[in-house]
Structures are given as structure tokens and as C-alpha cells.
């Protein structure tokens, strides 16, 4: 089997105008690769037990502010889109969008930039979620990157991220002619995010100019842009990781099962536990996958995402574990470690 032939098949929901979401047929295996996980997901989202509660005042205020931001964007822009990255923050953002526009459906599509290296359970969850909420889901793969053989295994994290995520995102936004894109980033995640406006201006090349951000007073947003420019909008700016989990629990929001501890095949590599999610991960000499009880605090491309050893199998467990945690969630993200300030650099180039 050639390397290309082992790439997973990407389902196509709604092609962007020139159809680059298509993967060359030679790269598509005959069967979708995720059928085995669907069953688990449909089992009522195992983590949800009866720990839901009335929203605290803190969460009610955050919810109201996020809904305001979502509505403001729809009122002021011609063609918004919501970046849907499948993780817990995207789940919360999507849930807030459903609330903001109820009883209407959110008047914009979801967009997933698929690097083709996401966990299989993420892809299964994505498709199930799109079907559940009844919104259009656009899936974009940087076909040029695939053609060049870019992957986290062959190219390393920074090239893979630059080509498959950042460039892929720019292609999709350009082709869709989107003038506003929602992202689920929070300011508590990382230092340069802590500096970013809720309505964050991007030039025609999608670049961010951190030294010259527009003043943003109260909730009066300057949404005016020139043709070709765009706005990134962050409805969850003021949420913390703890708020996100508390809200997921209170609102019974479905999340990918990978957040819950379970016995999974992993290898230890550079101090991180990497899950062997499919046979594309080359094992180094002496490496043999072993079963460990692990979960993920953050989700991305599986070869770049470290698991943590944990027994937290329910939302309640996760919240307890988080309160005691001595590490931040981005610890599991290998792509942020390249150098200090690497997030800002990526954002200036158009990363979310």
C-alpha cells in the first residue's frame, strides 16, 4: 500500500466554489474509517450523568455576552462563518449560536479545516453533530498540502500546522468570501490571545497586526472593513477553561468521548503520551503501543496531541481533576512549544 493510499477519506458536505475539498480518488480508501466509534458516541455521551444544575450567575453573564457577540456579527456582516474545530470550545460556541438565533437556525455555515490527521472519534463526532444541529458543514482540506505529502509525521509540527491549518484556513476563507469568521479561542489560553480584541481585524492577507489593534470600548464594536479584509470574532474571549466545563455540565452539551478517561493504545514520546489512532503513526525502534487509561484536555492532530493519564471518566471527575491540576491545557499541544511567542507568529500569518 502506498503512503497516499492510506489517507483517510474525507466526507464532503458542501463543496466550496472550486471544489478543492475533493481528495483525489486514489487517496480514498473504500470504507470510512470511523464506523467503530459511532456506536460509542451515540450511547448518550457517556460522560453526562446527572450533575447538571442551574447556571451560576457567572455563567449566565458569560452566556448573555457571547450571545450578544454572535448576534452583533450576524447583524453587521454579509457572510459570516463559524470555525468548527470539534473540541469542547467549539461545542460550547455552537451551543451558544443555537441559543442566540433560536427559533431560527444560526444563519451561517460551519467550517472545519481538516488536516486529515484528526482523531477518528473527532471526525465521527463532527459529522454526527452537523446532522444533529441541521447546519451546513463545509469541510476544507488543503489539497496542495496533501499533494506535497505534508504531514505531522513527515514534515514536523510547524510545517504541518502552517500548511494544513493556517494556509488551509486562508484558502477556505478566500474561496467562501467570508467577511467574518467565529473562532472558539479564549483569552485565558495563551499570552498573545490574552491581548486580542473580540472583533479582531485581519488585512486582505488574513494577517493580524498586534501592535495596532483598534480600540474596543464597551460592547460597541467597530465592524467596518474594506473589501477583501475580514474580521475574526471570538465569542468565548472571556471564558476560562473551568467555565467551559462547568457550562458543558450544566447545559448537557455533547463533547467528543476522547475527553473522558479510557484505556487507549499510547506510546511515550519526548515526554508526551501519543495515542496510536491508526496505522499511519510510524513506531520508532523499541516503541510498542501499550494500553493506558488516558484522556485529552485539548484535541488536535493526534500525533501532535499529548494525552494525560487520568481516571476521570465523567464530567464531574474532569471538573474535580481540573481544580487540582498544576498544568495548563496547552501543555498537551506540542505545536506551541516550538518557541515562546510562537502563537503570536502563527496568528500574524492567519492562524486562528
Amino acid at each position: 500500500m502506498t503512503k497516499a493510499a492510506r489517507l483517510p477519506r474525507v466526507k464532503r458536505r458542501l463543496a466550496l466554489d472550486d471544489g478543492i475539498t475533493d481528495i483525489p480518488p486514489t487517496m480514498a480508501p473504500a470504507t470510512p474509517y470511523y464506523l467503530d466509534t459511532l456506536h460509542e458516541i451515540s450511547q448518550g455521551f457517556a460522560g453526562h450523568q446527572d450533575i447538571s444544575m442551574a447556571l451560576s450567575e457567572q455563567l449566565r453573564r458569560l452566556e448573555a455576552e457571547s450571545i450578544f457577540i454572535l448576534r452583533e456579527t450576524v447583524a453587521e456582516f454579509h457572510n459570516p462563518v463559524m470555525l468548527y474545530s470539534i473540541g469542547k470550545d467549539s461545542s460550547v460556541m455552537l451551543h451558544l449560536a443555537l441559543k442566540a438565533f433560536y427559533p431560527a437556525k444560526p444563519p451561517f455555515p460551519l467550517l472545519h479545516i481538516d488536516t486529515t490527521w484528526k482523531f477518528r472519534e473527532m471526525i465521527a463526532f463532527r459529522d454526527q453533530t452537523a446532522a444533529r444541529v441541521g447546519m451546513d458543514l463545509l469541510i476544507h482540506v488543503n489539497g496542495q498540502g496533501i499533494a506535497r505529502g505534508v504531514s505531522p509525521v513527515a514534515s514536523g509540527s510547524s510545517v504541518h500546522t502552517q500548511v494544513m491549518k493556517t494556509e488551509g484556513l486562508r484558502q477556505a476563507l478566500d474561496q467562501g468570501k467570508f467577511d467574518a469568521a467565529f473562532g472558539g479561542a479564549r483569552r485565558d489560553e495563551e499570552k498573545s490571545r490574552a491581548k486580542e480584541r473580540i472583533f479582531s481585524h485581519r488585512n486582505a492577507a488574513h494577517g493580524w497586526d498586534p501592535k495596532n489593534q483598534r480600540p474596543e470600548l464597551w460592547r460597541v464594536f467597530d465592524t467596518r472593513i474594506q473589501p477583501g479584509e475580514s474580521m475574526r470574532v471570538f465569542p468565548l474571549s472571556d471564558w476560562t477553561e473551568m467555565d467551559v466545563w462547568d457550562y458543558i455540565a450544566a447545559e448537557k452539551i455533547p463533547v467528543v468521548p476522547l475527553y473522558f478517561a479510557k484505556s487507549r493504545p499510547v506510546v511515550r514520546r519526548d515526554g508526551a503520551l501519543i495515542m496510536v489512532d491508526d496505522d499511519r503513526l510510524p513506531l520508532q525502534p523499541g516503541e510498542t503501543p501499550e494500553q493506558r487509561k488516558v484522556r485529552f484536555r485539548t484535541l488536535g492532530c493526534y500525533p501532535l496531541t499529548g494525552a494525560i493519564e487520568s481516571d476521570a471518566a465523567t464530567l464531574e471527575d474532569i471538573i474535580v481533576e481540573m481544580r487540582a491540576s498544576k498544568n495548563s491545557e496547552r501543555q498537551g499541544r506540542l505545536i506551541d512549544f516550538d518557541e515562546s511567542g510562537s502563537m503570536e507568529k502563527k496568528k500574524r500569518e492567519g492562524y486562528f
Binding site: 450578544f68 427559533p103 499570552k191 480584541r197 480600540p215 470600548l217 467597530d222 467596518r224 472571556d238 503570536e344
Partner: protein, 616 residues
């Protein structure tokens, strides 16, 4: 009961230790996680300014430029909580250059920590920030006298600074001022009482923040609901989506649309979790009316017995945020809630001296200056005084050319003067005069450098029109300056006013049915656009006399370039003042029109082709 999340900012002059204080607070409430601490240690060795110690400022100065320069450029938001309370901190820059970022951070806060370096005392930036914080409605201030370790924890130093601040802030609108002596670097009085300052009887900073009561009882105020978006998924549902700015609403309550005065009742309060019986600020809901009355984005729904102002003029304090100064008379876009309307500053009442609180006369506002101004809008909008409502009394001005935020404004009061000056309906209108004169009235606006040939060409065009028995008037810039505009000079502010007045006069001439020829340098695109906006489409023709600067200098018909180049005339367009070339003029007179006759041919042909003189 746990108090609601406290949103506060840290401000004060550069190097007073704001970022260090935040870093210390986060660290002492053990909010710095192991991996963050590891990266902080790495960064401290690389960028740190504290020798072998950890540089806490690097926790919040997240931009590369900030770490390289060791300063804070933009506001950083940090989140932490103790068992007693959750906090959102806006760590604001101290440099005057970045004041607008400080104002960004302050606008959503309920409490300010104003830092002062014990060695330096109150600085201009301390006063500026105190003023902005007060102006933006932050009613509670902690005066944090920092670096007490460097003045030997001397109580007298602290007492002197506190007394000075109390005197200086007497006219500011603070409800509480809480002075705390501390050392952010050493941790004195940050999260526990300092043994080095046993003389301080008050609480340490963190204990104070955990218990500070800043509730402004939004829900107790009059009902205000800015309509944000009309939700219309099908013909059976029409809901007003929005966030309560203040007050409460219950199903069945009567409400009024402020601008139109139309009343209805609330039939439903819709959310995805089911209909509500009532809602209160700051919830986001969707209201369904009992009757089909008209309302859309920008409308303000309110209590019929407690209504907001509806006016097209008001007085407001502006914090100027653009590198380009304020031009009274220039058209900016005013955004207030969901309303966006062209607006201009009609008068600057005074500029505030932030140190002395003196009210100074001013013709303009520069970056970071604060002034009380009168504004006029193109249409009435509904609003409240900012003192009564921080949502419906706040606005921004947007620069129409750059789309940037030119100013932030807080409304003081509506201006009533205009309400007694009504427009007199005219029985004879432009259309009737047009038929009488067999011509469509029009403004021919000639723009270009001094010496470009604007007046010469305009004179030739007027002579030709006279031969055709057209009715014209020529408003020459130099001539108007000898009468109507003799009080104006050549600063940018005066030039804007000069154009505004001539534009208004040209509009009156248009009403009289005339062809108004206006040869004026008019260097700014914004003012040319403003005049175009005064009249209807097709009534303003922009003629760009595009003569290169070298030729104008060679011609120098009035000897002005010679003086300007010798430095004897200041603010001369093309020499030490920029000329903004028109992007899309209606007619361009360039090198292909070597003499005024050919230029006139082109202009007359343009008018004929569009039927300006074929009116019967």
C-alpha cells in the same frame, strides 16, 4: 453568598509596576501552573529585567514587541479566582502613546487599581488615567502606592501621596477611593498583610478585592432594550433579539419604541430553554410583540413611563483616539448601540487639562486628549446620559476613510436648542426654479494644487455658460476668504471649516437654481465627500485639475510657492501640507488638456452629455 465576578483594571504610569502586580496576584493565588512557570523562568532569563528573580511582568506582556521592549503596549486580560470570588483583570499600558488601549480595558470594568510609584508620586499619566477611569464610569478606585520597599516602608511618603490624590480627585466622580501601600515585587500587602507596614490598618489588596461591593444595580434602572437583530425564520415568527441594557421586562408589559413613539405589549419572551415570564439586565432574550408595530436594528425599546432622549444633537465628552486630529465639521460615523449615523462635532466647548482639571479653549483635539463637545447627527437617535446608563449613553466615532476608531464618547445631555428651529416649508422648490431657468442646478467643484489653473478654467467655463444664457455663480476661495470666511486661517482645522461653509453656500446657490462653480484647493478627501453628501446625486461634479507640482511651482502666479519653499508661509499645500488626490473624480483635467479652453471644452461636453442644459 459568593459575590459576582469582579472586573477590574490596573492602570497608572509606565514602570509603576502594573504587570508585576498582576503576575504577583496570579502567582499568590496559585494560578500560575507548572508548565507556565517553567516557560516564565525561561523567558525571565531571556527578556527579564529583574536579574536572577522571576520577572512576573512577562506573564502578561504577551506580545513579542512588548517582551523585547519591556513595556506594555496593549491591554491583557487575565482570569483568576479564589475560593471567595472570580476576577477578570484588564492589565492596561501606562505609556501615554497607548492611552486608547487603556481606555479599552477600562470601559468594561467596575473597579480600577491605580498604581503610583512611591518614589515618584503622582505623575501626569496618573492624573490622565484617573480622569479616564472617572469619565468611563468606574466608580471605585484602589490607590495602590507601590514600591514601598524602595522608600523604606515610610508611612509619611504614603500619607503624602494619598493626601495629594484626594485633593486632585475631588472633582472626579468616584464613590470610593481605597489607598493601600504595597510592594508588588516583594509581595507586601498583596495577598496578606505586610509585617513591614504594620502601621497600615486597612486590608491587603486581595482581601479588599474579594469583598469590594461594586454593584450598580443595573436591573433596578429603567427598562432599556436595544434591538440588535430581527429574528424572522418564517412568516409566523417575528422576534426582537437583544440584550437588556438595564431594567426588567415581564410578559404583558407595555413597551414603546423610543424613536417612533409606537407602543405595544410583550407577548412572549423567547429563549431556547423555553419562554420566560420575565427577564432582567444583562440577559440576552428575544421579545415577541403583541401587535405588528415597526421596529428594527438600532431601535431602543423602553418603558413608556420612563423614556430616553430622542434627539439629533447632544453634548458629550470625547476621548480622541486617532493619530489624525479632530476636525470640527468633518463627517464621522457615530455608532451607538445598533445605530450608525453620520455625525460631526459642531463645537468644542473645552479641552480638559488632566492635571489641573482646568477647562481650556480648543479648536481641535489631538490623540489622547479629552474634550467636551457638541455633536450633530444626520438623524435623531434614542439615548440616555452615560451617567444613567453605560450601554445606551456610550458611542464611538469612526473615521470614514480608515474605518478606524477616531474617538470614544460618553453622552452628557441632549441639546434642545435645535427643537425650536424648525424647517420652514418652501413653496417654490429647486425643481420649479430649474424649469424656469432651463437648467439643472449643479455644483462644479474644482480641486487641485495652488497654481494648478482651477480659477482660470472655472472663469472660462463660466464665460461659456454665460454665452449660453445659463445662470451661474463663481465662489472663488480667495474671494470668500475676504468676507464670509475672513475669520479663518490656514490650519487644518480652519481649512475644514472653510470648505464646510463654502459647501453650505454652494448648496444654497443650488436651491436658487444656479450652476455654482467652486475653484478651491480643498486638499482633504473627507471634506469633498462631505460636500457631495450635502446634495443629491448628480448635483456635485468633482473636477480634478491634475497639474503636477513642478509645473505649479514653475508657474507660481501669486509668488506663493517661492515664499512657502523659503519657509515664510506655513501649512502650504504641496510644500509642507499633503494634498489628498481624488480617487474617483468625475472629470480629470490632466496633461491632455494643455490650455484652459480645451479643459472648458471637456467640462461643457460632460454637462451636455448628461442633459444639464436641456431642461424645458
Amino acid at each position: 453568598m459568593r459575590l459576582p465576578t469582579l472586573r477590574f483594571l490596573t492602570c497608572g504610569s509606565v514602570d509603576d509596576g502594573k504587570s508585576t502586580l498582576i503576575g504577583r496576584l496570579l502567582c499568590e493565588s496559585s494560578l500560575i501552573l507548572d508548565d507556565q512557570l517553567a516557560s516564565l523562568e525561561r523567558d525571565s532569563r531571556k527578556f527579564g529585567t529583574t536579574g536572577a528573580d522571576i520577572d512576573f511582568a512577562l506573564l502578561v506582556d504577551g506580545l513579542e514587541a512588548e517582551r523585547e521592549q519591556g513595556i506594555t503596549i496593549d491591554v491583557a486580560y487575565r482570569y483568576f479566582s479564589t475560593p471567595n470570588r472570580a476576577f477578570i483583570v484588564a492589565d492596561c499600558p501606562g505609556h501615554e502613546q497607548y492611552t486608547r488601549n487603556m481606555a479599552t480595558g477600562a470601559s468594561n470594568c467596575d473597579l480600577a487599581i491605580l498604581l503610583v510609584d512611591a518614589r515618584k508620586g503622582l505623575l501626569v499619566q496618573t492624573h490622565r488615567h484617573a480622569n479616564i477611569v472617572s469619565l468611563l464610569g468606574v466608580r471605585h478606585v484602589v490607590l495602590a502606592v507601590n514600591k514601598m520597599d524602595l522608600v523604606d516602608y515610610d508611612q509619611r511618603v504614603f500619607a503624602r501621596i494619598v493626601a495629594e490624590f484626594q485633593a486632585a480627585s475631588a472633582t472626579l466622580k468616584f464613590k470610593t477611593v481605597t489607598p493601600i501601600p504595597l510592594s508588588a515585587r516583594r509581595g507586601d500587602n498583596v495577598s496578606s498583610p505586610s509585617a513591614n507596614m504594620a502601621w497600615h490598618k486597612g486590608a491587603d489588596l486581595l482581601s479588599f478585592l474579594e469583598t469590594a461591593d461594586v454593584e450598580d444595580a443595573k436591573a433596578e434602572r429603567a427598562f432599556r432594550f436595544p434591538v440588535q437583530w430581527v429574528n424572522r425564520p418564517d412568516l409566523d415568527f417575528r422576534g426582537m433579539a437583544g440584550t437588556l441594557a438595564s431594567g426588567r421586562i415581564a410578559r404583558g408589559d407595555e413597551i414603546v419604541v423610543a424613536a417612533s413613539g409606537k407602543k405595544t405589549r410583550v407577548a412572549r419572551i423567547v429563549t431556547m430553554d423555553g419562554d420566560l415570564d420575565h427577564a432582567e439586565a444583562p440577559e440576552s432574550v428575544t421579545l415577541v410583540f403583541a401587535d405588528e408595530i415597526d421596529a428594527s436594528r438600532g431601535d431602543l425599546l423602553c418603558d413608556p413611563l420612563n423614556r430616553p432622549e430622542v434627539a439629533d444633537q447632544f453634548a458629550a465628552h470625547l476621548i480622541w483616539m486617532s493619530e489624525e486630529q479632530l476636525y470640527p465639521g468633518r463627517s464621522y460615523l457615530l455608532k451607538c448601540g445598533g445605530n450608525v449615523a453620520p455625525a460631526s462635532v459642531t463645537e468644542i466647548k473645552h479641552r480638559l487639562d488632566v492635571e489641573t482639571q482646568a477647562h481650556n479653549d480648543a479648536k481641535t483635539l489631538h490623540l489622547n486628549e479629552i474634550g467636551l463637545c457638541n455633536l450633530a447627527l444626520s438623524r435623531p437617535i434614542a439615548f440616555d446620559a452615560y451617567a444613567d446608563n453605560r450601554v445606551t449613553g456610550a458611542f464611538i466615532l469612526i473615521d470614514r476613510a480608515t474605518n478606524g476608531v477616531a474617538a470614544a464618547g460618553v453622552i452628557d445631555f441632549a441639546l434642545r436648542r435645535a427643537s425650536n428651529v424648525h424647517r420652514q416649508p418652501l413653496t417654490l422648490d429647486k425643481a420649479k426654479r430649474s424649469i424656469l431657468k432651463h437648467q439643472k442646478p449643479v455644483i462644479l467643484w474644482f480641486t487641485g494644487l495652488s497654481g494648478a489653473g482651477k480659477s482660470t478654467i472655472a472663469n472660462v467655463v463660466e464665460a461659456r455658460l454665460l454665452q449660453r444664457r445659463a445662470h451661474t455663480i463663481l465662489l472663488d476661495g480667495d474671494n470668500v476668504r475676504q468676507g464670509l470666511n475672513k475669520d479663518l486661517g490656514f490650519t487644518e482645522v480652519d481649512r475644514v471649516e472653510n470648505i464646510r461653509r463654502i459647501g453650505e453656500v454652494a448648496k444654497l446657490m443650488l436651491e436658487a437654481g444656479l450652476v455654482a462653480l467652486c475653484p478651491l484647493i480643498s486638499p482633504f478627501a473627507a471634506e469633498r465627500r462631505m460636500v457631495r453628501g450635502l446634495v443629491e446625486s448628480g448635483e456635485f461634479i468633482e473636477i480634478f485639475v491634475d497639474t503636477p507640482l513642478e509645473i505649479c511651482i514653475a508657474r507660481d502666479p501669486k509668488g506663493l510657492y517661492k515664499k512657502a519653499l523659503a519657509g515664510q508661509i506655513k501649512n502650504f499645500t504641496g510644500v509642507d501640507k499633503a494634498y489628498e488626490r481624488p480617487e474617483a473624480p468625475d472629470i480629470t483635467i490632466g496633461a491632455d488638456c494643455p490650455d484652459p479652453e480645451r479643459a472648458a471644452d471637456r467640462i461643457i461636453a460632460y454637462l451636455d452629455a448628461r442633459g444639464y442644459f436641456a431642461v424645458d
